[in-house]
């Protein structure tokens, strides 16, 4: 099938390896991938800050770009939640209301798409490391994605998955991390400590924005654990 891949702005600019891995995986599975040049951001930053008019200014062209897409795959649980869950609310009672609902129904988060749409778990990847998985809150609680990434990691050769003790937020929260840095940092510290306690070599996540926050703290504090996106692990041979 033709997969329209929506690469979020921060993956485009900061973590291209995660996006490239998604393209390579989907193509290896025999699908045609297209990445609309005109889509940069889903509009979540203004939406979460309460500036819904400005969010619609960004999101409406996104909807137009995705109008005819067969399947839309987003490389982030957070941006996935924005399109799938919040677009219908953002565009309620506007001319885009119906389109927003249609696009939402055809949108998938990357791991969810692989497991629940394509029915694939074994991608032939090898990653001989001990890892722990961080659930981004939007993917986990807005989209209910919990088992898909674990099913995928379960088939990665040589990989050992150890769970952290709590299912808690990493403290990123978009603009929250800059508006209330002391709280965001404190939450991140708890997350990093939980991850270090597992003895894992890597923290893996489907949300690169969470990993940006976690890695930012790990680097500053010199903690002995690294971060990597789920797509890169699944694309590792």
């Amino acid at each position: 099938m033709t997969v329209t891949l929506f690469i979020p702005c921060f993956i485009d600019a900061l973590y291209p390896r995660a996006g490239i891995s998604m393209v390579e995986i989907l193509e290896r599975l025999g699908h045609t991938v297209i990445c609309p040049e005109k889509i940069a951001c889903c509009g979540q930053p203004p939406f979460n800050s309460g500036y819904w008019d400005e969010a619609r200014t960004i999101a409406a062209p996104v909807l137009e770009q995705l109008k005819d897409a067969e399947a839309i795959v987003i490389g982030s649980g957070s941006c996935g939640a924005m399109v799938k869950k919040f677009y219908p609310e953002l565009f309620a009672k506007t001319p885009h209301a119906e389109l927003a609902k249609q696009v939402a129904s055809r949108t998938w988060e990357f791991s969810d798409f692989l497991v629940n749409k394509l029915g694939v778990t074994d991608l032939g990847a090898k990653f001989p490391h001990k890892v722990t998985y961080h659930d981004g809150c939007h993917g986990l609680r807005e989209l209910g994605i919990k088992t898909s990434p674990r099913a995928l990691l379960g088939k990665v050769g040589g990989l050992q998955l150890v769970e952290m003790k709590d299912e808690i937020c990493c403290g990123f929260g978009g603009t929250f991390s800059a508006k209330f840095p002391m709280i965001s940092t404190a939450m991140g510290e708890v997350k990093c400590n939980n991850a270090v306690e597992t003895g894992a070599d890597y923290i893996v996540s489907g949300d690169s924005s969470c990993l940006m926050h976690i890695q930012g703290l790990l680097s500053r504090q010199g903690k002995p654990i690294k971060t990597i996106s789920l797509a890169e692990v699944l694309n590792h041979q």
């Binding site: 393209v23 940069a40 800050s49 991140g188």
Partner: protein, 464 residues
Amino acid sequence: MSTFVSEFKTAATRVTGDARQRQFIRTALGNYEIARDKRKASFQSWESARQAAAETKWQAINHLDTHLESLVAKLEARGTKVHWASNATQAREIILKIVTDKKARSIIKSKAMTSEEIHLNDALEHAGFTVAESDLGEFIVQLRHEPPYHIVFPSMHLTRDQIRDLFQKELGDAPSNSPEDLTMVARRVMRQKYIEADIGFTGGNFAIAETGMISITENEGNARLTAALPKTMITLLGIEKVLPRFSDLALFLPMLATAGAGQPMTCYNTMYSGPRQPGECDGPEEWHVVLLDNRRTELLADPEQRDALHCIRCGACLNVCPIFRNVGGHTYGTTYSGPVGSVITPHLRGLQDWKHLSNASSLCGACTEACPVKIDLHHHLLHNRRNASMSEPSFFEKLAYKIFGMVANEPVFWSLAKKIGWLTQPLQRAVKGSALDPAKAWTKTRDLPTQPLESFKDWWRNRK
């Protein structure tokens, strides 16, 4: 910046820098979570129970007028005096008039967050009355002259040693730091207060419209004594506490205990239906029930956030909230802290003054997942943010998002922005964390990722 937000930020900075307090709260609430999960497992289906509770509260709140009429008619039929208070001032005046008319001197209280909401103790003490809290946690924070730290566990932030020292200083008695010894000291002091009290004051957990009963839940038996010993009893509760039927308690009592404290049932659950009736040998001679609105009807008028009135004040959302766990209860500066406090305080005390609480969230949704009556808590934080930005937008934030929108919508600008970001990285690194650093809020405690020269879109274009 309003005083409230700067006070919040100052307190948040202090508590997040206090590793001991954060660890203490995290451990206590971690233990709660273990107990709660154990008790949740004893429900046939916790999710179905939540759904049933949410539907019952929906019915209660969406037909609040008829339920309240029924409740009041039933209460009055058995001789209870019912008072309606539109706001905190009125509620205080009503209560002050009752205690003044009774020529009372001393009031014994069981736990009631509504009394915190209307600042009742200050008003009573200011008018010359003696007020004694009888819930152990409330008794402790009253001795410290501070508000409750948590709506269910008022003194959870204190160690046994701190309580021993407090008792030693304020009561002159604390043989050890053991809970038994400390409780015996408090009990001895309280018993005297009970004997002296002319008025017993309580809150209420549920008000049953069908039978005209107020249900009070407690673990210490102090609310029972408060209701039983003094000749006059006053109960203050919010109008949203209504449940339609007596049988609803079969669900709500275990649910409140499990969600709130990880208990199968709270130790004492008492339903009060009136003052002492002819031929009865105990109970108060007079019972006054004060029903408090205090802007709850404004929340009722908001169809989007009306479900915030479902709240049964169990504290489950506070317990799981990573913000609460890291900033603690006092930081909020509100009667109701944690997620539900952040949702309702802007409605109760003004959106612009209290919108920062809705911004101080990563929107992780742990609260919504924990809420036993399924209040859409974290989405309401988003709604508060939207309402605040719509009515009083920040000029700079709005402008920034407009510019961001123009850049994001135009591929040439977006590519240019990435190139500028890449080119200015060395400059940013040179001033990292200093006052000159535009990303200071981030870089003070965290490193920024290194931006590669080739973005994903560059790669995509090049491979074609």
